[in-house]
């Protein structure tokens, strides 16, 4: 009788321990998942920043307003077809002095979810041929 009571209380205690453990596991796994997602997002934003900076440094002069989209794969290599990421670029030139001031708006999105990863606005002055 005594032995049976001991097992009963031990069983109840173990059941409680397992229950609390399960709750703790649920919370901890959520933290792990969130950590992994944040790390992935940080990787994507980092890639988006570098890709946008590269375009901001290398865009060419345009005579009329232009908008185009560039596609990038998971490793931020440019592709011809829609892939993991897309970069929408809007170029708006305005006559200024002896040249053209070209405004450039760059938005980088994650293709699947259309989440905006990074936004960059810049401009560049292109002097006319022969002008100083």
């Amino acid at each position: 009788m005594k032995r049976s009571r001991f097992w009963q209380s031990f069983f109840i205690e173990m059941a409680m321990v397992v229950l609390f453990f399960s709750l703790a596991v649920a919370v901890i796994i959520r933290f792990f998942a969130q950590g992994a997602l944040l790390s992935e997002k940080s990787k994507e934003v980092n890639g988006a920043i570098l890709a946008a900076q590269t375009v901001a440094q290398t865009f060419e002069k345009t005579e009329v307003s232009q908008s185009y989209t560039l596609f990038f794969d998971q490793n931020w290599k440019q592709t011809d077809q829609p892939s993991s990421f897309e970069m929408r670029i809007l170029l708006e030139p305005t006559e200024s002095g002896n040249g053209i001031l070209c405004d450039c708006d760059i938005d980088v999105y994650k293709s699947q979810t259309q989440d905006l990863l990074f936004q960059l606005s810049t401009n560049r002055y292109f002097a006319q041929e022969g002008a100083k």
Binding site: R3, S4, W7, F10, F11, M14, A15, V17, V18, F21, V25, I28, I29, F32, G35, A36, S39, E40, S42, K43, N46, G47, I49, L50, Q53, T54, Q57, T58, N75, W76
Partner: protein
């Protein structure tokens, strides 16, 4: 009597089973946690190294003024990005190079052709590879992190 004995052994078995499940789950959680933490730490370290190395070099170049000259030289069999500035007759040089393990910066006074040791210099970031290529007035920086992830940044040196 036999029934009681049987009942007791079932109870014991249940207890041991519950305890075993608990122990296995605890070990699994610890292992999963350790693996996720290691993956996140590796990824973040690689991300930081890529970002800091590329940002450091690009900011260094963007902060150059008209008195400074940017050169890409081949010294000690490695490409060395050299920022040269003449002040009161002295030539100040800032060399940025990859020694095979670290991206480094070395500041000195003297000629840009003067030999220097790749052992010298301050460490900027630990990387697997860092290349600098010149394409006209564009400078293409490519960094490869320890997890073999590669990122590139193109800079316009026409300033």
């Amino acid at each position: 009597m036999t029934f009681k004995k049987k009942n007791s052994s079932v109870q014991t078995f249940c207890m041991v089973a519950v305890f075993a499940v608990f122990a296995v789950l605890a070990v699994l959680l610890t292992l999963t946690g350790a693996r996720v933490y290691r993956d996140i730490a590796t990824s973040m370290r690689a991300n930081n190294a890529l970002r800091s190395s590329l940002s450091y070099v690009s900011n260094k170049l963007r902060s150059c003024n008209e008195k400074q000259t940017v050169l890409l030289l081949q010294q000690e069999d490695i490409p060395v990005l050299t920022i040269k500035e003449d002040v009161d007759g002295d030539t100040y040089l800032t060399r940025i190079f990859f020694d095979g393990e670290y991206l480094k910066e070395f500041a000195s006074v003297g000629s840009e052709d003067a030999p220097f040791s790749i052992e010298s210099g301050d460490k900027i970031a630990k990387l697997n590879d860092f290349t600098i290529k010149q394409d006209g007035n564009l400078l293409v920086l490519t960094a490869t992190a320890e997890d073999m992830r590669t990122m590139s940044l193109t800079l316009n040196t026409d300033f």
